[in-house]
Amino acid sequence: MKELRIATSLDEALALVADGYQPVAGGTDLVVAARGGKSELPDHVVAIDRLTELSEIDSSDGGLQIGATVSHARLMRDESVIDGFTALADAAALVGSPATRNVGTIGGNVMNASPAMDTGSPLMVLDSEIVLRSVGGERRVPVSDFWTGPGQTVSQPDELCIAVAMPDLPSESGSAYVRLEYRRAMEIAVVGAGAVVSLNPEGDGRVVGVSLALTAVAPTIIAVGGIADALIGRAIDESALADVAALAGDQASPISDLRASDDYRRHTVGVMARRAVEAASRRAAGASIPVPVNRSVGIGAVT
């Protein structure tokens, strides 16, 4: 017999999680995996979707703290996300379908730890921390340390993800997420890339800060090492973008599967990386590229 408890307070939820209950909010991973025969529904489940304290987007202390049960639909429309953390809105807007986005949550996405998760690269380049709480207390884990493999994280069984937090970007910064997709809805990233670019406030177009992360080319979302060394002090021109693509392709360790071969992934992740950096730098320079980039530029644009 399966048991579902509906938590009415965070303390109740934490106590149940400590007792071995698996949390569920939107159910877009848990239920779909069970229906698809991938993994059975756990015997003990606690629903956390009614906990209002987990559904807030808070920018009062600087930076942004996003409650674990905030849906993708809210992320793609929330002005504070779109204005300051655009890559996350780009990614949220591409997830599944309107129905998936209405119930799927950022916390569930983070804890499911898929290397193909669209919000992963944005969280990585936005320097996010995952806020974990248990009956015993709270800790924050930088996202760069959080994922350890497909479906694996450093969280302990008694810990509940209650939020993700990210600092404000410097001025003259922009971010973007771009993915390779074979269709325009109900799609999963073949590869993807998220980027943050900060430009010299003096307006000479030179890069003063940059980060880049890649989706679906390794067992986890990965940050591209050496990207700062490669780009800082340079303008984002064709030669800089070619370097971005090469760096991304070099650091990818993709698999061959039904969606793509390793060769094709290695090539296209470079394409996505240069597009993400280009879009982020244009946004940093003040250009308006509506969310998501995939529907604003290129052949995926809505016409």
Partner: protein, 755 residues
């Protein structure tokens, strides 16, 4: 015509479906109903060395476990009886049913399925179409000489069917050609992928069984039950509730007998609902994969002089309804072109894959993609515009086609001109855009069909028909035809259909035939009532019967609209005497003669009654960095004869185009080396979504076709699926400079072709 100009018409089943009040087979609940689950082979080719049901039978709640031992010893199949309800000694594909279980809950049924012990001796897998026909190849059906088969079925090695059309002298023609072009194209298999996975409910009352099932062909399903369980047709009643799509995948007899047998053993009603994975792997209705070789010779002025061609079709493990596919494939490799010398053959090859069967326009999208891609290659070799090349060589009124048929008035070249002109109105092409053009053809299929029409005492009408509705539009068009015949409004009629015990025979939603044949039956049935009404009105209005006109709900005297009587009033009079009951069937159109061709393996598909023609122009955009292709606009022009219900016809074209886009760029079955499908799920088998649908502009070239359906109508349901992938392919080739020779033309395959 555009949507805005078409008359509005509310589908009779529309409000039910939109509001959720409609009931599908899976929604049915009957008192005491059990859940069914199947034990599938889950291995592509193996001998069963042990099958132990004892543990399964011990699971609490299990009321029936059936295998081959529990049903009559019957081998069945449309043209070739190669199939049994349950696996017998050998399994030949992963989705073959070994056992069926009925239990009080679906969890108990699944537990019982899991408790069935099967031990196999694996057999070599036959999955390569060329190796399967080589000497010494492993045979999928070593004992098949003992199977019952239609005349002409070869039963030779792994070749389940072959056809060829030979006309003129191809060797001589190729020698006389100035340019000869040879191509090879390979198409993966694909799926009908209806959103509703199939469901079956069976309930016995005494020695009669009622079966509710999501089938496109209720009478075929009934006949399958009768054949396999040994029952007369009047003890098997098949009813189809609302259907959630078929696209050909629900043609044929599938699991109705399994569920009826379970219900009889368990003495309780039983329901089967497939999972999505089961819907992908089990039914014998997959679009066949195909290898196509074409060689065409042309004169330097652009005229085609000869074509040699061969297609190998993947039959899968059993033949389903695919025996005639070889002849269809031959016709599509020839295409609607004037070619004096042809030698084109096709073979249907047994493999250990899921059986192929009728999916919307079987063989046509793949074969047309290959032929039309080849056609653009030939035009390029000539240095000729591909549209001009088609206009020069296409069949037209009075010309003789590749199988020797002379065409009456047809509109193919007009379709080409209109599609190209319409696509040019979309403005100049960007440098990552191109327009590809392809033509297609498809037969209309005459068959027997029947209907009753009655008017009750209040004047309300009822059409009782064998026709099936899975999107055919019968719920609109049949009412329209009856209403026109009787001078009434379509809304005055309700339809009772999809019930084999109530309605006369119809072939079902297959072969684009519903309006083509059942329309004739409904007109004939309504015509009998019209005669009765005229007689009643003549008597009442003191006029000659010949002068009575039925219109706007009344009978009036010609030329004197004031001398009239409402039809409702006549119906009331009739309800006290001779009732208003009509029945109709009519005579199907006959096949035209062909001359000058030798047709080996003739399945009657070389001479086409009321052939339909089409031209699609697809405007695409390419991402040159990734190979991703997006279709932005399709101009579709069809000669389907007279269009009776424009809104229904537009829906058919738009749906067919979208299905064609999927086949072109995203839909394909991927098989592993173990002979099993690797993508039997909707995330990895990529249908097009609503967000991917381009602008679709449809025009009809309406030519009254005498030897055709009602009012000169031809079919329309399959034709729009025929040339779409081909048009997209020709646009891709323009952009990347060479054809992508593997369907679907996925981004990675496009990228590989660009490298």
């Amino acid at each position: 015509m555009t949507i805005a100009e078409t008359p509005r018409f509310v589908r009779a089943d529309g409000p039910d479906k939109v509001t959720g009040s409609g009931r599908y087979t899976a929604d049915m609940q009957l008192a005491g109903m059990l859940a069914a689950k199947f034990k599938f082979a889950e291995i592509a080719h193996a001998r069963i060395v042990r099958l132990d049901l004892s543990a399964a039978r011990q699971i609490p709640g299990v009321l029936a476990v059936l295998t081959d031992d529990d049903v009559p010893d019957v081998r069945y199949g449309a043209g070739l009886a190669d199939r049994t309800l349950f696996a017998r000694d050998v399994v030949r594909y992963e989705g073959e049913v070994i056992a069926a279980v009925a239990a009080t809950t679906k969890e108990a049924a699944q537990a019982a399925v899991d408790a069935i012990v099967v031990e196999y001796e694996p057999l070599p897998i036959v999955d390569d179409l060329e190796m399967a026909t080589a000497d010494g190849a492993v045979l999928v059906h070593p004992e098949w000489e003992s199977y019952r088969a239609s005349p002409g079925v070869p039963r030779d090695g792994n070749v389940a069917s072959h056809s060829s059309v030979v006309r003129g002298d191809v060797d001589q023609g190729l020698r006389e050609a100035d340019i000869v072009v040879t191509s090879r194209y390979i198409a993966d298999g694909s799926h009908a992928a209806p959103i509703e996975p199939r469901a079956v409910v069976a309930q016995w009352e005494g020695d009669k069984v009622t079966i509710w099932t999501s089938t496109q062909v209720p009478f075929t399903a009934r006949d399958g039950v009768c054949q396999t369980l040994g029952l007369p047709t009047n003890r098997v009643r098949v009813i189809v509730p609302h259907m959630g799509g078929g696209f050909g995948g629900k043609c044929g007899f599938h699991y109705e007998a399994h569920i009826a047998a379970l219900a009889r053993t368990a003495r309780r009603p039983v329901k089967l609902v497939f999972t999505r994975r089961e819907e992908f792997i089990a039914p014998d209705r997959r679009r066949e994969s195909m290898i196509v070789d074409l060689t065409t010779g042309v004169k330097s002025d652009g005229t085609i002089v000869a074509r040699r061609g061969q297609a190998l079709l993947d039959n899968g493990a059993y033949t389903a309804d695919s025996s005639f596919f070889t002849q269809l494939a031959v016709m599509h490799l020839a295409g609607p072109y004037v070619i004096p010398n042809v030698d084109i053959g096709a073979e249907l090859i047994y493999t250990n894959h899921q059986p192929s069967g009728s999916v919307r326009a079987p063989t046509a999208p793949q074969a047309t993609w290959a032929r039309e891609s080849h056609t653009d290659e030939v035009a390029a070799a000539l240095g000729m515009d591909p549209v001009e090349f088609r206009l020069l060589n296409a069949v037209e009124t009075g010309k003789v086609g590749p199988s020797g048929q002379t065409y009456d008035e047809i509109g193919l070249t007009e379709c080409i001109r209109k599609a190209v002109a319409a696509s040019e109105t979309a403005g100049p092409l960007a440098d990552n855009e191109a327009v590809g053009v392809a033509i297609g053809w498809w037969p209309s299929i005459p068959s027997p069909s029947g209907a009753y029409v009655k008017l009750d005492g209040d004047g309300a009408g009822q059409i009782i028909t064998g026709a099936q509705e899975c999107g055919t539009g019968s719920v609109m068009t049949l009412r329209q035809l009856a209403a026109d015949e009787l001078g009434m409004d379509p809304e005055d009629f309700q339809i009772v259909h999809q019930d084999t015990a109530v309605a006369p025979y119809d072939t079902g939603a297959t072969g684009s035939q519903t309006l083509f044949n059942n329309g004739r039956a409904v007109i004939a049935a309504a015509g009998q009532i019209a005669e009765q009404l005229r007689e009643l009105a003549a008597d009442r209005l003191e006029a000659s019967m010949a002068d009575i006109v039925l219109s706007e709900g009344a009978a009036h005297v010609a030329g004197s609209p004031d001398r009239n009587v409402p039809i409702a009033k006549l119906a009331r009079i009739a309800s006290y005497g001779e009732l208003l009951i009509g029945h109709g069937s009519g005579t199907p159109p006959s096949a035209p003669e062909i001359s000058g061709a030798t047709c080996a393996g003739d399945a009657g598909m070389a001479a086409w009654v009321a052939p339909q023609f089409s031209c699609h122009a697809a405007r695409i955009r390419i991402d040159r960095d990734t190979g991703v292709v997006r279709v932005v606009r399709v101009d579709a022009v069809h000669d389907s004869g007279t269009i009776i219900n424009p809104i229904g016809a537009l829906g058919q074209v738009e749906g067919g185009v979208v299905m064609g886009i999927g086949q072109a760029i995203s839909e394909g079955t991927v098989y592993g080396a173990d002979g099993r499908q690797r993508n039997p799920a909707l995330l990895e088998y990529k249908l097009q979504t609503a967000a991917d649908v381009p602008e679709i502009h449809t025009q009809f070239v309406e030519i009254f076709t005498p030897d055709a359906g009602p009012r000169g109508a031809k079919g329309i349901a399959e034709a729009p699926n025929v040339p779409t992938a081909a048009a997209i392919a020709n646009a891709v080739t323009k952009l990347i400079g060479r054809p992508v020779t593997h369907l679907p033309m996925t981004p990675e395959r496009v990228w590989e072709a660009m490298r």
